[in-house]
């Protein structure tokens, strides 16, 4: 190529070409280039690997942090809103609100300050407004309260007595949570208005997330994903976002909200980028140094070589005047130069000859060699292929059939025989139809054949028959085989027996959806079926009902007869439930002794009542379980769609609540869900919270019921009975709060307080000289299970100074029977301390006498349900006599509860009962009255 301008304009050489030329031109250049490339590659590799790893780590770490922040924000939000709801219910039920309907003067004087005094959790801004029966605001904290005159939802709150909550988007685009509770006018007991609490979700949300760093975006979305509140920087596209769901108790707020927290990726990664830039800067700084130093090294290495190469260059250009080259020194370059000189001479001589010969021979050799190699390779390959193919076919796990064009079988493999039972000789020459089961139609086969001819392939599942006649499910693929010209020569059928696989699959699916014990659908499956039924019901404008069924006292049966018997009983119950409903209905077991029934497509709620009655009746017949005849009953709760809930979850929850009401009414009955149950649940919730406060505010006090020796009439002791002085409801009896205290665990603190106060009271009476001989205190089930019960009791005794002999602990039968072994140990230790033990409400449970005999018991209390009936009711009289006889046989003393008439007293005395308590003798009294009482007795 010429660089001089000529007739043609040669393209100027590009920088790349120039660079390559430059590279080729010198080893020293190449060394320089290599060093440069190597340096670049290494730094790039290290840099990018560490960059990527750090970025991954940082992102991971940040999203974890964001997730925990989101969870925390979610909790705050949950706390804030749940508290608002509970507070609202509390405020709405305050008598002051109801009474304020009476008069506007009073209302303005006391109600406005009362409402203004309310401070919401975490400082959320709320407005409280009281509306009259027409939805007009009459008092509240807002400067300009909204009027809800003729708002249908408020009318529903006031006329229907239902609580209401909704999220409303205001004209300003802000979302408010609007909650309303009916307010009852105490004078008439009628609902006269509603208390409405409104709060801006953005305010609540911003306060709930105020702890977050300001550069984090935050967002509150509803269940449809619509944004309710958005705050913080969110403009950027590239965000790291985490989501956390907030679930409210559906009793309180029917919402599921989500919190999203996001950070700008660039901002999060900024420190990393700074490091990376520093690194890159360093690399750029170091490169010229590398280039310069490698260049220097290269040049020094190649001084001699450059000379040689210059000479060689001139030789090749036909320029020999510089040769021989001067030789200086003794190093490799010097020797090379000498040899170069000699070589150049010889080369020139032999060059032409050699070149000719070499070319000739090389060509020949190449031809022969490659022919030979091709031959050998070809043969080897074919052999190998055939061998592999035959092996593959023969040892394949799938059955393989090869047919000719007429579909006659020409070959089968071992797996074929293993699967079908046919030997090759049985089938060769036959068509694959020999495997057909009756379930295959000839038409189906023809379709298959047609597909294979047309598309070259067919795949599917079909039922085939083995030689033994057994049917099996086959996964079959049929392909055509073509020769090189594309003509079909054969068909090959590959198949496997998937019967077992299919069964396993089906079994697994069954397991996932059914209860193993009863084979009934489980909760998940039931819910799914419910949802389907609801969709059908919506389409056909029909109703359906969900029943929640819980066996009464199942635990006692389980505890006394063992789990195997319990399981057997549950299977029996499952069977009877299924027989009580239609085929189209669904019976499910939720676990334990909880069952549910879905009544699909009913005409009216009465139908559900009919089925409930039928179920109760069927269950009332005895069950024979491990040789025992057992009677059970159940409590049923019913909720109907669409009245009592809009989805399966709500219906199940509400039927559950209704079931609890049925159970509270003594079991063996059914209840429909009603809106009051909703408020009852709310009530229980509030009761639990005021119970917690009650302990802190010491609102509990004890009354004491004297107990007498039936013969001498002397006081033998008192039983401590706890009462609650509720600020709004007056004195609340234990029946109304012990259950809740037990459920919430508050009973442990309360129980301990009772024991302590009772013991202290004994000491106070003693100081006054008016103490009864013995103090009986009821222990709760939870207290009895406390591992350190003994230590607690003995430390109370020590602290108060009461001797153990004066303390009697009352336990119920069921508490002891829950874990008889453990109970025996606990009772024994109490006994050693000197505390006496009484068994309360004896005869109402399922105690085994055998156990009773082994427990160190001192007293048996005869339950007042038996005492009430004596002497008129023959059954009660019989049971009472029997209990007394048992007690006497075991050497125990007997105490009768609830003696109200002289006839009862006489009967008990005659029957041999030792002691008694009841209204006839004395009602529970305040401590000072007991003092007076004892004084009277000692005087008389």
């Amino acid at each position: 190529m010429s660089l001089s301008p000529g007739r043609y304009a040669w393209p100027a050489i590009g920088p790349v070409q120039r660079f390559f030329r430059w590279l080729e031109s010198s080893i020293s250049h190449r060394i320089t280039a290599a060093a440069l490339v190597l340096t670049l590659a290494v730094s790039l590799a290290i840099g990018s690997v560490s960059f990527l790893m750090s970025r991954g780590l940082i992102e991971n770490r940040i999203s974890q942090e964001l997730a925990s922040e989101a969870e925390l924000a979610g909790r705050q939000m949950e706390f804030a809103l749940n508290t608002l709801v509970v507070d609202l219910s509390g405020l709405a039920s305050n008598a002051m609100l109801g009474n304020s309907f009476a008069d506007s003067l009073g209302r303005d004087a006391y109600l406005a300050p009362f409402l203004r005094d309310y401070s919401a959790p975490i400082g959320v801004d709320t407005t409280l407004t009281l509306y009259d029966f027409l939805g007009r605001p009459i008092a509240g904290t807002a400067e300009k309260p909204r009027s809800y005159e003729r708002a249908p939802w408020l009318a529903q709150v006031i006329d229907g007595g239902r609580a209401h909550s909704e999220i409303v988007r205001g004209a300003d685009g802000r979302h408010r949570l609007v909650m309303a509770r009916p307010v009852v006018y105490p004078s008439t007991g009628l609902i006269e208005g509603a208390l409405v609490m409104e709060t801006h979700l953005d305010d609540a949300f911003i306060k709930a997330t105020s702890f977050l760093k300001s550069d984090l975006g935050r967002c509150l979305k509803d269940e449809r994903g619509e944004t309710l509140v958005q705050a913080g920087p969110l403009q950027h596209d590239d965000l790291v976002t985490v989501t956390h769901p907030i679930e409210f108790s559906s009793l309180l707020l029917p919402y599921q909200l989500r919190i999203e927290i996001s950070g700008e990726r660039a901002r999060i990664l900024a420190p990393l980028y700074r490091t990376a830039y520093a690194y890159a800067g360093f690399a750029i700084f170091i490169l010229p140094v590398v280039v310069w130093s490698s260049r220097k090294i290269g040049e020094r290495l190649t001084v001699g070589l450059s000379q040689l190469s210059a000479a060689a260059g001139s030789v090749s250009a036909g320029n020999n005047e510089d040769i021989p080259l001067p030789v200086s020194g003794r190093d490799e370059v010097a020797r090379l130069t000498a040899a170069f000189n000699t070589m150049i001479g010889k080369i020139r001589e032999s060059h032409r000859e050699l070149e000719r010969r070499v070319v000739e021979r090389t060509v020949k050799l190449h031809a022969i060699n490659s022919a030979l190699e091709r031959e050998i390779l070809g043969r080897r390959r074919t052999e190998e292929q055939l061998r592999v193919a035959a092996n593959a076919i023969e040892s394949a796990a799938e059955g393989i059939i090869i047919c000719d064009l007429d579909q006659k079988i020409v070959s089968v493999n071992r797996a074929f025989t293993a699967i079908t039972g046919y030997q090759p000789e049985d089938v060769l020459g036959q068509t694959p139809e020999i495997l057909c089961s009756e379930e295959q139609t000839p038409a189906g086969l023809i379709d298959t054949a047609r597909t294979v001819r047309a598309q070259g392939h067919w795949k599917g599942e079909l039922w085939s028959r083995k030689k033994s006649g057994e049917n099996y499910l086959e996964e079959r693929s049929v392909s055509s085989i073509q020769d090189g010209r594309g003509t079909i020569t054969n068909f090959v059928i590959v198949f496997s027996d998937i019967t077992k696989h299919k069964k396993d699959e089906q079994h697994l699916a069954f397991l996932a959806h059914h209860d193993l014990l009863t084979h009934l659908p489980n909760r998940t499956f039931f819910q799914q079926k419910c949802e389907e039924a609801l969709q059908r019901a919506v389409r056909h404008k029909a109703q359906c009902a969900v029943m929640f069924i819980d066996l009464d006292h199942f635990k006692i049966i389980n505890d006394s007869l063992g789990h195997a018997a319990g399981d057997e009983l549950l299977r029996g119950v499952a069977g009877r439930l299924q027989k009580s409903v239609r085929k189209t209905d669904t019976v499910a077991r939720f676990g334990g002794d909880e069952f549910a029934v879905l009544l699909d497509d009913i005409r009216e709620a009465e139908d559900a009542a009919f089925v409930a009655g039928k179920i109760l009746e069927r269950l009332s017949a005895s069950f024979l379980v491990s040789g025992h005849e057992i009677y059970v009953s159940a409590s049923l709760g019913i909720s109907c769609f669409p009245l009592d809930g809009q989805d399966a979850l709500a219906l199940i929850k509400n039927s559950d609540a209704a079931m609890y009401v049925a159970k509270d009414h003594g079991g063996n009955n059914y209840r429909f869900f009603s809106a009051e149950m909703h408020s009852m649940a709310l009530e229980a919730l509030m009761m639990a919270s005021s119970l917690r406060l009650a302990i802190e505010r010491s609102e509990f006090f004890l009354d004491y019921q004297p107990r007498f020796d039936l013969r001498s009439g002397r006081t033998t002791g008192v039983e401590a009975l706890v009462r609650w002085r509720h600020p709004d409801r007056g004195t609340v009896m234990p029946g109304q709060f012990i259950g809740i205290a037990e459920k919430t665990g508050l009973i442990e603190r309360l129980g301990e307080w009772v024991v302590e106060s009772a013991c202290a009271q004994m000491m106070a009476w003693r100081a006054a000289g008016t103490a009864p001989p013995r103090m009986a205190v009821n222990l709760s089930a939870r207290q009895f299970k406390q591992p350190d019960l003994i230590e607690r009791i003995s430390s109370i005794l020590k602290a108060t100074g009461l001797e153990a002999g004066a303390l009697e602990l009352e336990l119920t039968e069921s508490m002891v029977m829950q874990d008889p072994q453990r109970a025996a140990v606990t009772l024994e230790r109490l006994k050693q301390m000197g505390v006496s033990i009484a068994i309360d409400d004896f005869g109402t449970g399922y105690s085994s006498l055998n156990y009773l005999k082994r427990f160190p018991i001192d007293y048996i209390k005869i339950d007042q349900s038996f005492v009430r009936g004596v002497p008129m009711d023959a059954e009660d009289a019989g049971i009472t006599r029997a209990i007394i006889a048992i007690g006497k046989t075991l050497g125990l003393k007997l105490i009768a509860e609830g003696i109200e008439t002289t006839e009862q007293l006489k009967f008990l005395e005659d029957a041999g009962c030792d002691e008694g308590q009841g209204f006839l003798i004395s009602r529970p009294l305040a401590p000072e009255k007991i003092g007076e009482f004892m004084q009277c007795e000692s005087r008389s």
Binding site: A95, M96, F101, D103, S104, L105, G106, P186, S187, T188
Partner: protein, 400 residues
């Protein structure tokens, strides 16, 4: 809506229903309506029942004599205001719109009338007040004034109560008042009276809200501050709470209670039970059937017993309600005939001109005049006490 409230919304066909289904010639002519808006669904208030009884007896008598306006029968229309002022306002609006409705009687709750005063005058609705005692209901500043009262007023109740206390030897007085317009009205009357009557020392005023749980504590705090007698202004529910609380106190720590008559608008014996016997409780009244000597007393008492299915005059609930309503209806019927029309403005004017009505409570020379819309006077007010059967007996003059 409760059954009671439904019943209360029912229009009673007076001539036919309560008194044995006797038919009168006047039944065929278009009736003239009288409304009653009272707290029928209130759980403990007996005053609506008493007022209704008085109205029905009077209407029956009038219809038997041939009705008003030349043979038109009177009929009663009832509305339940549940003791809620906003409901009362809605009811009054509805009643005012009724053709041939001439007047409305109210129940015992002053606030339910107070908050409708503007509405009453706007609709020219005659409000006959047989019970509610707040002064401001009649002294309302409207002219012409559509509110007429045949009842007690607070500015009479206060002096009568305090003078009785003084006769009993109590000069140090404590007062318990409800936090309502009625309480406010009594407070004003009290301040006005005490400014004149220097023999009294006011040890304190305690305000309570309806249903207040601390009412007993308020009473005790007055005693602690040295009160020798407690004046109570309130209704039966709060009164019963006070009496029950009093019964738990040691006898030597209690002081007597003199009560405004709100507590007689309900059955205090039912509410307070045995505790009522424990309290030294006196109450302001304007009428009792027991020992009443006027000729009409026996006739009305018997009609009331028949209507309510009672065995004795002692059982008639809230007798003042029966008596006031009875006299008011008779005065109204005279005014209707005087006006000669059902036009309410004309009847209002006529009410101020009715003369010489020989009523159940007394002979009214001229019950109402343009200057005076109170048919009773302070001299009609007396002190009564609960007998063991819950009946109210007038105390003898000079007795303690």
């Amino acid at each position: 809506m409760s059954t009671r409230a439904l019943l209360a919304h029912f229009v009673f066909l007076v001539g036919l229903l309560p008194l044995g289904g006797m038919a009168y010639a006047s039944d065929t002519k278009a009736p003239v309506y009288i409304g009653l808006d009272a707290e029928f669904s209130h759980r403990t208030s007996t005053s609506p029942l008493a007022i209704r009884t008085g109205i029905l007896i009077a209407i029956e008598e009038i219809n038997r004599r041939g009705g008003v306006l030349g043979g038109r029968p009177l009929r009663l229309v009832e509305r339940d205001n549940r003791a809620v002022p906003t409901r009362a306002a809605e009811n009054l609006k509805e009643l005012a719109a009724m053709r041939d409705l001439v007047a409305v009687l109210c129940g015992k709750f002053s606030p339910t009338v107070f908050e409708s005063l503007a509405l009453i005058h706007e609709h020219k609705l005659i409000l006959l007040n047989p019970w509610a005692a707040a002064d401001g209901l009649v002294d309302n500043g409207y002219s012409p004034n559509y509110v007429f009262r045949l009842s007690l007023r607070d500015s009479w109740a206060v002096p009568v109560m305090l003078e009785y206390a003084y006769r009993r030897g109590a000069a140090r007085i404590g007062v318990v008042l409800p936090n309502t317009r009625w309480g406010e009205s009594n407070d004003l009357a009290l301040d006005k009276y005490l400014a004149r009557a220097k023999q009294f020392t006011l040890v304190g005023k305690r305000w309570f809200n309806y249903g207040d749980k601390t009412i007993g504590a308020k009473y005790r705090s007055l005693i602690n501050d040295g009160a020798e007698m407690a004046v109570f202004v309130g209704n039966e529910g709060d009164g019963a709470a006070l009496v029950r609380d009093l019964a738990t106190m040691p006898k030597d720590r209690r002081v007597s209670i003199i009560s405004h008559w709100g507590i007689t608008g309900g059955n205090l014996l039912d509410l307070a039970g045995g505790a009522l016997g424990e309290a030294d409780l006196s109450v302001v009244q304007t009428y009792t059937f027991l020992g009443a000597a006027r000729p009409k007393a026996k006739q009305v008492s018997q009609a009331a017993q028949r209507l309510l299915g009672l065995a004795s005059a002692r059982e008639i609930p809230s007798p003042v309600g029966v008596a006031h309503a009875y006299d008011l209806i008779h005065i109204l019927s005279r005014a209707i005939d005087l006006a000669g029309t059902t036009d309410r403005a004309a009847i209002r004017d006529a009410l101020e001109r009715v003369k010489d009505y020989d009523g159940l409570i007394k002979f009214y020379k001229q019950p109402f005049t343009p200057e005076r819309h109170e048919a009773l006077e302070i001299g009609d007010v007396f002190i009564a006490r609960y007998a063991a059967d819950g009946a109210l007996e007038k105390i003898k003059q000079g007795s303690k």
